[in-house]
């Protein structure tokens, strides 16, 4: 039920106003994963014809590499966004690398989960249990076990991404 609830929450927020455009990473469509590893940005139904045609621009989600995100900060995020935007324009190659990236990121995430700490930049739809809220530098964080999360929008979904306060 937990995973189903996650999907419901995800889809419900997702359809609020908008639809997330994501290309299928596998022919099976949405992948459901255990709550602790909930992957946001899984394939869904595009809500736009143009979106389908331009699906290389879709979000691929999940984790960044640990190295890349060790400097996780507003600046890094901005730079990544620029990189991502540039990448959108290079279509198929980006899509393929994105898929590979997602796979490797998922693998990292699983490996890290086993060791108790998630790689920075891991995105989850729901926080784990027993988190405490804190504010650092005007930014709101949740401390959950060994991990800190900040709240963000991924598309129109409210998500939590691991970060360093």
């Amino acid at each position: 039920m937990i995973t189903l609830r996650n999907v419901a929450a995800y889809a419900a927020s997702f359809v609020v106003l908008f639809c997330v455009e994501v290309a299928p990473e596998s022919p099976l469509g949405l992948r459901l994963v255990p709550e602790a590893q909930a992957v946001v940005g899984a394939p869904l139904t595009p809500g736009s014809v143009a979106g389908v045609a331009r699906r290389t621009t879709r979000r691929v989600a999940v984790a960044e590499s640990a190295e890349a995100s060790s400097e996780a900060s507003a600046q890094a995020a901005a730079a990544q966004q620029q990189a991502a935007t540039a990448e959108q324009q290079s279509a198929t190659a980006a899509q393929q690398s994105a898929t590979a990236a997602q796979q490797s990121a998922t693998a990292q995430q699983q490996a890290a989960a086993a060791s108790g700490a998630l790689p920075l930049g891991t995105v989850v739809a729901t926080l784990p249990a027993d988190c405490s809220k804190m504010t650092s530098g005007g930014v709101e964080y949740y401390k959950c076990g060994p991990d800190y999360y900040r709240t963000a929008f991924q598309g129109s979904n409210l998500v939590y991404v691991t970060a360093t306060p």
């Binding site: 419900a12 979106g51 959108q88 990121a105 930049g121």
Partner: protein
């Protein structure tokens, strides 16, 4: 959290064949009685009658300086098991050309609003008071693209509301035809069906003197189970409240500003 709905109705092959035959007849009639379709770039395989009806609708919407509409959205999600779920939501959209848009979720579930005032775009989640504001392009058309491509945020029926909607829809459409007349929510419509790259889409357009779109369905072809996105549009109004404050966002006390995650995190990969 959300009630799940039943399976969507599907056309059985026999029905489809019948309707196609009817559609062909209607298309032939329409062709006989109308001027040639516009000289716009038009993929071969698109029935000029279908193109004409579509363009009449998009031209009409593009000509409106402002409008409001209620949308009812259904999105399907296919689980790994192949089981398909539907999720419903409704939202209210207010638009003023060339550079204002507001959409807000209505109903009893989590609400969320989008504000675009020609300078910035804000997504606000009032549940726990989170919002993100980013600089946005200066026109609605560009802002719709920006939101989709850079933020992964898609306006309901975003394909239909831009001034160049016809080009957007037809750019990758390889075929299209008039299925026939159909009644959607009590309104008599022309039912059009198109095929594009990786997608089939259908639109139902009021066949009266105000050719509003009433229903729009996008079928994703490369996901098993062919999930669909559907939006029904009702309560069209040409006189919505477009006072400037409706499109500007002022964070309520206690609201927390957050960021959009970058689209395509893969950019961070070495």
């Amino acid at each position: 959290m959300k009630a799940l709905h039943g399976l969507i109705p599907t056309l059985r092959p026999l029905d489809a064949a019948r309707r196609l035959a009817a559609a062909a007849a209607v298309a032939a009639l329409a062709l006989a009685s109308t001027a040639p379709a516009p000289a716009h770039a038009q993929a071969s395989g698109v029935d000029p009658a279908a193109a004409r009806i579509l363009k009449r609708m998009t031209d009409y919407l593009a000509s409106l300086p402002k409008f409001g509409v209620d949308t009812s959205n259904v999105v399907e999600v296919v689980l790994v098991s192949g089981q398909k779920l539907q999720f419903d939501s409704a939202s209210k959209l207010t638009l003023q050309r060339p550079d204002k848009l507001r959409t807000e979720r209505v109903g009893d579930v989590a609400s969320q609003s989008l504000f675009y005032d020609g300078r910035t775009l804000t997504l606000f989640d009032p549940n726990d008071g989170h919002y993100a504001t980013v600089p946005a392009p200066g026109t609605l058309d560009a802002a719709v693209d920006f939101a989709r491509d850079s933020l992964d945020v898609v306006a309901p029926a975003g394909d239909l509301i831009t001034t160049d909607a016809y080009q957007r829809l037809m750019a990758d459409s390889t075929s299209g035809f008039v299925v026939g007349k159909s009644v959607v929510d009590g309104v008599r419509c022309d039912h059009l069906a198109f095929r594009g790259i990786g997608v089939d889409w259908q639109v139902w357009i009021d066949d009266g003197d105000k050719p509003f779109p009433r229903k729009f369905v996008v079928t994703t072809l490369d996901v098993a189970g062919l999930p669909q996105f559907e939006v029904r549009m009702s309560n069209w109004t040409l006189t919505p409240d477009v006072s400037p404050k409706r499109f500007e966002f002022s964070p309520p006390p206690g609201a927390t500003r957050i960021e959009f995650l970058p689209v395509g995190n893969a950019g961070a990969q070495p």
